[in-house]
């Protein structure tokens, strides 16, 4: 996708970086003059995707998570990638309440939250290679120009 602005961050798959990732993306998105609701939506979606990479992608090992953002007009594209174990069945993983880790009190709502809070979501995953989540949010505030 063509873009007017771009940024990329890479960090260890440690849970303290979940807050770091969502705050960085929210700061980058602030140039789109978002509403508070739009900012909360993207922070929540990023938090879900990064948490998935940490818990499911890398499990007990540590690897790298990459977050790339591109702005094109009033659209923000967010790509979250890991090189972890991948998802066996993406369709099943995206079902509401499906979780492979009920013992960790995971609710199985991560993908449902991402789908609801963002305008587009695509998931690519390959076993033992990793998972890429691409999400797009359209910001309404710039439409009025």
């Amino acid at each position: 996708m063509e873009y007017n602005n771009y940024m990329k961050i890479e960090f260890d798959s440690k849970s303290q970086n979940e807050a770091f990732a969502r705050v960085v993306v929210a700061s980058f998105a602030s140039q789109l003059d978002p509403t508070i609701e739009e900012i909360t939506d993207i922070k929540t979606a990023v938090s879900e995707a990064v948490t998935n990479s940490i818990i499911h992608g890398y499990e007990s090992s540590t690897g790298l998570v990459t977050v790339t953002c591109k702005i094109n007009g009033n659209k923000l594209e967010i790509i979250i990638e890991d090189e972890g174990q991948g998802i066996d069945n993406v369709e099943e993983a995206m079902q509401p309440l499906f979780t492979s880790k009920p013992q960790l009190e995971r609710s199985g709502m991560g993908f449902t939250v991402m789908e609801t809070f963002m305008d587009e979501i695509e998931v690519y995953s390959e076993l033992k290679k990793g998972t890429t989540i691409r999400m797009v949010k359209k910001f309404k505030s710039l439409n009025v120009e």
């Binding site: 979940e18 939506d41 948490t51 009190e105 995971r106 709502m109 991560g110 449902t112 939250v113």
Partner: protein
């Protein structure tokens, strides 16, 4: 994330102050379960007025506590729910098992 507690009869009111994600969930879970067993809590009210961020990890924390409390015949409710958290609770169907109230006194009346 800081937790503040208030006990009214057998109902524990837990006030969340901060962000609830996967990172903070583990400590919160341990701390809450300790307090619930030590103080012989029957019912639980989560006050979300100062909750500045919550993702689906929060649903896991709340449903987990609900399971323990309901086993012993208690009730769980949430108060001061912000719009964004309300959206997540609705998605998860949380209001099928716990009730939402505007404030503490309303919630206590329904216990």
């Amino acid at each position: 994330m800081q937790l503040q507690y208030e006990m009214v009869d057998h109902t524990l009111i837990v006030k969340f102050d901060g962000e609830l994600d996967h990172h903070s969930a583990e400590n919160i879970r341990t701390e809450l379960d300790d307090v619930i067993s030590q103080r012989r809590v029957k019912n639980l009210i989560f006050d979300l007025n100062e909750m500045r961020f919550m993702d689906s990890s929060g649903i896991g924390v709340i449903i987990g506590r609900y399971k323990n409390i309901s086993k012993l015949g208690g009730k769980v409710s949430v108060i001061h729910v912000t719009d964004s958290i309300d959206k997540i609770f609705n998605l998860a169907g949380l209001y099928n098992i716990i009730s939402k109230h505007n404030n503490k006194s309303e919630a206590l009346n329904c216990m």
